[in-house]
């Protein structure tokens, strides 16, 4: 990456597009401390978070999803959701004596209802279909009510009906939880309808930035990425 600089306002949804190898996931990995940039820095709510570990970032309210499915296969759907938020409640010793659901059962059930996962709530997550696991994966990221969520290709491998459900869910969560989202996605229709602002990256640089319709019509973007 070279000279990439942008800000995300509270509650804003920003899309990041670009061809494969353009540096989108590297951008996420740099923000999330998995690689350390050779120069430059990242700030979150006025605090320098450059090089912080994923654990430190999670504690500050930065959540993420991954390109590939990342659920806890042997745990039930409900337990997947509870474990996603339990570490933010109390101290490590106090959690040994907390109720089994860590006081998060009601919140988990609400999320299960929102994501329409009630029929499979008590089944092991690993036994479910790809689409259902994708929903769990995304629901987990929102369980701790993060202030910033980085979503890496939420629509990858998802059928069109589920893509629309995902878009509606993200819009709902953005309204109810009020967090900021940064979304990497190749599905142009999804990103244009979800994100009021889009950043297009090519070869590690920001090529264009603005409203989806502006970026879509940008000649350099058309040449580098959208093609036709």
């Amino acid at each position: 990456m070279d000279g990439v600089s942008f800000a995300v306002a509270p509650g804003e949804i920003v899309g990041v597009i670009g061809p494969n190898g353009s540096g989108k996931t590297t951008l996420f990995n740099a923000i999330l401390g998995q690689i350390r940039p050779t120069s430059g820095h990242m700030e979150f709510c006025g605090e320098d978070i450059t090089g912080m570990s994923p654990l430190e970032l999670a504690r500050r309210g930065v959540g993420r999803t991954f390109q590939t499915l990342q659920v806890f296969g042997k745990l039930s759907v409900r337990d997947n959701l509870i474990v996603a938020a339990q570490e933010f409640k109390g101290t490590l010793p106090s959690r040994l004596f907390a109720p089994p659901d860590a006081g998060l059962g009601k919140h988990a059930d609400e999320m299960i209802e929102l994501f329409r996962l009630q029929p499979v709530a008590h089944l092991p997550a690993g036994s479910l279909s790809y689409g259902q696991q994708k929903l769990i994966d995304i629901a987990m990221a929102f369980m701790p009510k993060p202030r910033l969520v980085l979503l890496d290709e939420p629509c990858a491998g998802v059928n069109p009906a589920l893509v629309e459900q995902l878009r509606e869910l993200l819009m709902t969560l953005n309204k109810t939880q009020g967090g900021s989202f940064v979304v990497i996605e190749h599905n142009m229709d999804f990103i244009m309808r979800l994100c009021p602002r889009v950043i297009c990256m090519v070869e590690g640089r920001v090529l264009a930035e603005g409203r989806p319709d502006e970026v879509q019509l940008n000649r350099a973007v058309l040449e580098a990425y959208l093609g036709n």
């Binding site: 999330l32 570990s53 994923p54 654990l55 999670a58 504690r59 959540g63 993420r64 991954f66 990342q70 659920v71 806890f72 296969g73 042997k74 745990l75 337990d79 509870i82 474990v83 996603a84 938020a85 339990q86 570490e87 933010f88 490590l92 959690r95 040994l96 004596f97 907390a98 089994p100 860590a102 987990m140 369980m143 701790p144």
Partner: protein
């Protein structure tokens, strides 16, 4: 637990409690030994089965617990003081052994724990001034009131149940869910605020503490200890107990310990062939039932 499971567990608990009434001294000794292995196996199941950390050095912790108990009791300490001392020492050593797990996983971690077992075995064998070396330590007392084999069995059995309840508490608590998250997907777990370092170390330390307690009971059971029961072979047998019963299943070590402790005894009628039969049975089990014996009901439901 479902009603049928409660019934089976209740019946098994009563049957085990009544078993000494129909057994001679050697049978009671084997049953007590089973309890000791269940204690150690439950700890290993937490480390390996629930938290997903590989360990083939568990016998070393049983050894540390046994030698701590033996040495302190020979110095006149009460069993009731020796027990927490053995557990705490193993907890502390377990914490230290957990550190390699923060850097390496799977077979690399297996070799790190293997190295630890070899190191401790050499320590038990060579540091004669403390451990008695190959001559061991004899005349280890049992706690007063429990010095007869039947009484010592019920004492050990009761303690095993208390430890089982403690383990059930841990697994049902948010800690148990965090251990499972660590096992299933540590990268995702960390991104959700699960402190991987703390839970990895705790998984080793708690598992080691269980082994330390088992060691203290073992020392009083056999009344004489020497390095052989704490060798790498014993660690492999303990891992076998967990896997044969069902790794990550609560009752896995109970069943696994019964197979590993009692099956060779039952197969003794085969004389020289018994170890061959035992080995073949284990190989067959690993091929057809990699989830352990407790996975049979699930397999039947799916069939």
């Amino acid at each position: 637990m479902r009603k049928v499971e409660v019934t089976i567990v209740g019946a098994a608990l009563i049957a085990i409690a009544l078993a000494p009434l129909g057994l001679k001294n050697y049978g009671i000794y084997l049953l007590t030994l089973w309890c000791v292995y269940v204690m150690a196996g439950m700890g290993l199941n937490l480390t390996v089965g629930y938290a997903g950390q590989m360990s083939i050095g568990h016998a070393a912790f049983v050894g540390i617990g046994a030698y701590t108990a033996a040495i302190l009791m020979k110095l006149g300490w009460s069993f009731w003081l020796v027990l927490p001392a053995a557990a705490l020492l193993c907890f502390a050593v377990g914490l230290v052994l957990g550190f390699p797990a923060l850097r390496v996983q799977h077979h690399y971690l297996a070799f790190a724990t293997l190295g630890f077992n070899v190191l401790m075995f050499l320590f038990f064998r060579n540091e004669e001034w403390l451990t008695g070396g190959t001559f061991g330590i004899s005349g280890i007392p049992r706690p007063p009131l429990f010095d007869r084999s039947g009484a010592y069995f019920y004492f050990t059995y009761g303690s095993t149940l208390v430890l089982a309840l403690a383990l059930a508490w841990i697994i049902r608590s948010p800690w148990g869910r965090a251990f499972a998250a660590l096992r299933d997907n540590p990268i995702r777990a960390e991104s959700l605020g699960v402190n991987i370092m703390a839970y990895t170390l705790l998984a080793f330390a708690i598992g080691a503490a269980f082994a330390g307690i088992a060691g203290a009971y073992f020392a009083s059971l056999v009344e004489f200890i020497e390095p052989a029961p704490f060798s790498l072979t014993s660690s492999l047998m303990m891992l076998l107990m967990v896997i044969v019963g069902g790794s990550g299943r609560f009752f896995g070590p109970m069943l696994g310990a019964a197979i590993v402790v009692l099956l060779p005894e039952w197969l003794r009628v085969m004389k020289d062939w018994y170890l061959v039969m035992f080995g073949l049975a284990v190989v067959a089990l690993m091929i057809w039932l990699p989830g352990g014996l407790l996975s049979i009901p699930e397999r039947l439901r799916r069939a």
